[in-house]
Symmetry: C2
Subunit: 174 residues, 2 copies
DNA sequence: CGGGCTGGGTTGCTTCAAGCAACTCTCTTG
DNA sequence: CAAGAGAGTTGCTTGAAGCAACCCAGCCCG
């Protein structure tokens, strides 16, 4: 599927997306631009690996989640591994391709923080450099040490926004 | 709309999106995660400012384009300006908020280039630093001079991939 | 040893969004 | 005076998402 020589005809091979676009943004969105896909990737990046946990965390419909996970696995963004047999149970892990989405997620996160913050008390999620604890900016660069980071170098922490909300509605403790 | 104090209830104010997510990635995707939105922003960034031009360039349905443009204007990502009256004709420009999406677009572009290139001959679109002509990497940093760039510092050029395709199907000259 | 829980789905139905084609309205141009 | 550009609008059809219910295998608990 998706052979190099077929690239002029690729548009109708793709399922339901941006036909005729000769741009890698469009190609990227064909794969991860579907509703929920990037949020699933984000959650898996933050350590949610199992179907139920993803479903509950996202509030996504189960059939849609099934769908997205399959697609992300097909696209080699996630990998599905059994962590036990009988009954078979699975976890989803990010591949390198999936981890490479990190800069895009960080950029979106930073944009959301700046322009449509879900909480007025500050960002609900902080990304910090594991090694030095510095905050990560919109380019995925550590504000402390200046290093250009990758997915594995950083970690997400709950930020001030989320604490304020937890106080406002303490019912929803995880 | 979207008052600070209402933020715990914001989820059902939003039209059709990711309920209950306390994360700015979700907030960002509520606004620009809809089908076509980011591609419209990209096209406007590249100088396509008019309805027809966007419609033809993207191959999007006209009613959907109307819809998206309205939403993007409401969200203060685009600005609609008349460039003549009688008959009234409009152009769409990016606001600062819209321009700030640049790093996210660049990250997606780089990801697409690396992992699902629409052309085997190289990237179909090159982003270069206006001032020094250097290529821009996945973080929006100039590979030549090392500067951290913003939307206005860079320009898109057709890359090697697009030339190869133009040769393959020369019918579609713009 | 029966009942409920956990985990990972599938099925069926309904609603909402996207795609498509045709139409409108006002100039402008040939 | 007909055709075309520009910016949409309308109506109909398909396709995706949401929701609730169901399934099945093991395990856990009284």
């Amino acid at each position: 599927m998706r052979e190099a020589t077929e690239c002029a005809k690729i548009t109708y091979v793709l399922r339901h997306d941006y036909p005729g676009q000769m741009c890698s943004i469009a190609s990227a969105l064909e794969v991860v631009g579907e509703r929920w896909s990037l949020l699933i990737v984000r959650d898996v990046m933050n350590g949610r690996r199992r179907f139920d946990s993803l479903q509950k965390g996202l509030g996504i419909a189960r059939n849609v989640l099934t769908n997205r996970l399959q697609r992300l696995v097909e696209e080699n963004i996630l990998e599905r591994r059994a962590y036990q047999e009988s009954p078979p149970r699975y976890e989803y892990f990010l591949t390198e391709k999936g981890l490479d989405l990190w800069p895009a997620l960080i950029a979106l996160l930073a944009w959301g923080d700046r322009h449509s913050p879900p909480s007025p008390d500050g960002p609900p999620m902080l990304i910090v450099h594991k090694r030095c604890g510095g905050r990560v900016d919109d380019r995925g660069i550590c504000a402390e040490c200046g290093e250009v980071l990758h997915a594995r170098d950083a970690r997400a922490l709950p930020g001030p926004g989320v604490e304020a909300l937890a106080l406002a509605s303490p019912a929803k403790a995880t």
